[in-house]
Symmetry: C2
Subunit: 474 residues, 2 copies
Amino acid sequence: MAAQRLVVIGGDAAGMSAASQARRLKGPDELEIVAFERGHFSSYSACGIPYWVGGDVSGPDALVARSPAEHRERGIDLRMRTEVTELDVEGQRVKVRELDPAGGDRTGGGQSGGERWTGYDKLVIATGARPRRPALPGIDAPGVHGVQTLDDGQALLDTLEKAEGRRAVVVGAGYIGVEMAEALVNRGYEVTVLDRGEQPMSTLDPDMGKLVHSAMCGLGIETVRGVSVTGVLLDADGRARAVTTEEAEYPADVVVLGLGVRPETALARDAGLPLGESGGLLTDLAMRVRGHEDIWAGGDCVEVLDLVSGRTRHIALGTHANKHGQVIGSNVGDGYATFPGVVGTAVSKVCDLEIARTGLLERQATAVGLQFVTVTIESSSRAGYYPGARPMTVKMLAERRTGRLLGVQIVGREGAGKRVDIAAVALTAGMTVEQMTALDLGYAPPFSPVWDPVLVAARKATAAVARDLPGHGG
Amino acid sequence: MAAQRLVVIGGDAAGMSAASQARRLKGPDELEIVAFERGHFSSYSACGIPYWVGGDVSGPDALVARSPAEHRERGIDLRMRTEVTELDVEGQRVKVRELDPAGGDRTGGGQSGGERWTGYDKLVIATGARPRRPALPGIDAPGVHGVQTLDDGQALLDTLEKAEGRRAVVVGAGYIGVEMAEALVNRGYEVTVLDRGEQPMSTLDPDMGKLVHSAMCGLGIETVRGVSVTGVLLDADGRARAVTTEEAEYPADVVVLGLGVRPETALARDAGLPLGESGGLLTDLAMRVRGHEDIWAGGDCVEVLDLVSGRTRHIALGTHANKHGQVIGSNVGDGYATFPGVVGTAVSKVCDLEIARTGLLERQATAVGLQFVTVTIESSSRAGYYPGARPMTVKMLAERRTGRLLGVQIVGREGAGKRVDIAAVALTAGMTVEQMTALDLGYAPPFSPVWDPVLVAARKATAAVARDLPGHGG
């Protein structure tokens, strides 16, 4: 019997990265590792679901980085289709329920039995997130799909398979909504996106979101902006048949919710663990749940420190979840690692339009008391004379007086999206926009104009900061 | 008459950027600006020459960012085909000679006259660089071409036009040699590259250069490594007909020198201005020539501070030249700007193979007394399951004990090259590889695996630094 027992709740990126890293540091005689996953899949890429639905990627197996069997071979006792229903912090134990007591685990290994308690010495909470589903009539009907887990993706594909018509309504035009809209167009659907905002892509300022709207129109996606969904109408069988707003009714053979996600923290909340404003678990820099020496949390169920705003935020992204898992696993295994925080980087695409942001939007900066100047520039992905040069728009926010970089948004074609990484590193380093003008970025005609678009924006932002200084004559 | 007179020597990127920026800050009544250019072209992209020669880009006009006439419209008295032959620092004057005294300026504006002195209050030296041409028999013969200016490019194209055969020899496999080799293949030439090094692309460590060698073979370029050129054989008309090494003779209808460039600083040297080890002008951070209040220098004729090694180096790159020009122009115009230095970033491509480096190579790090660990990883440009994911190799150097990032080299396909910018910013900020593991880089399946290749390298480098620490048991 092992000296200690680690229990992991959640078999996706954060939980299984933590388990794997802990296993690397501690052998089975030192640490028993048991992980519980209520779904049918382990260690998968939820971010890949839109491409699976759209047919670019085969699935679901291609999206699974490591199967339950592979985890078990590596000495992790992963129990699939097993839900943790209660956490007893005082007693250092969790209550688990097998969802397929007849042994329905896709990959084998299912066990019979009802609810029971099982103890832990160390606990990792990686319960993920679930799609926001506003409390509206009909919202839980068959045919209304959130898209967060592979099981969700499979359920949506089953609906698409059976659907008689080819009309889809996507509620919400955040990045999941936009990616799902494109996926459904690729499946041959007529897609309408309903959104409350002034422009799609609320992860961008509206002036940049407008560029995304144009691209969506180009794909034939109808985007209805500035509307609130009031409910879902059902057919005689109780399935979704239309989405209603105050003004209109949108027929739908399938409804997809793209309203973002909430941390899945009911278990943690009921156990009295500390949650932040958006309902995510609060941790310290080592990803320990605050005030609890032997409980860690990571992935989509936690809030992370935003290094630019100084606030904690909920950001559900696989890349963060993997980092959290690494950090947790190192600490559980008596190593040492920290997760310092995020700067809010995100990248996505609609057709060949690449969309990226890092740092703060205007409204986010204002909300935390920052004052700033903004500039927007048009440039090109390559030297203007080089074949394949494509236009790109870069918006940059810099703090008044100090000139510190606060945020960058980029919309453009090939070569636009990953340029945001330049700004992400500069934000992490606390650079000013003037410091950025001197950055030694890769230049050759097939890769960049002689002034990289990010440098063009930094130069203009530097000038804007100077003009804004008190006493400036201009 | 203006209060002061600025003379600019050299009408390409650094000189004309400086002139333009100075003109933005000072009107013609405050500052007269005269610029002298001995060639036929102003403000052009020398980096575009291989693509012009290869036929990807039309030229030469497409490569000119701003013509002489456009500069003159903006209040800069640019004299084309006018060479500065002497600099009298004491007397604050330069001696100029018109090369086409009959008025042969392509764009008009030529004047008649011989050599004469003209005075300055402020001087900008932007005399550029010239191709290295080893003192070997036949090296100056017609048919042997350096490729540094648009005039050089035009001369090479004239030779290609007239050539009867289709055999080209490129001497040197640095990035210009490699780009020219590909250009000549695109022109239908059989290309042999002769190089002294163990692997092509001496801007990379040999293990990474080897990957470039494979790609060159794939293009049908014959690369002969580890050989020294001994001379050029001439035909009866005195034109190059073959290149010889100690072992063999390589027939050539055209010979291209890709041995890099030297700062063009004879004028400055003769005037007693301070030069560094590689013959480039030495400046302060404001790009003033050291010890000379009213003389600035920038572009390919200066040495710049390498922020990683702490040494000055000669790096001829249009992107630096443009930055120098901006800084000089600001300072000449009584503004304030500095050029803090470089980190040694370069990116290029052979066919669809993207090649990038930043910071120090192994031999460069060793030469300045640094000790380091290296790691090399294979990863992918996109999520492995996403269509178009291409492999990429990342090599990373980190300082022993401190873990400070020292350099990164990347070789891969689409999406590899500009990833070097992440490392370039991290180097500028002085980050450790462990700090880099937490970088919040753009992630979505079409753009990156969940761990960006640079992060994968940083993780492995972090582990290597830890293993190397004194007292580490493993």
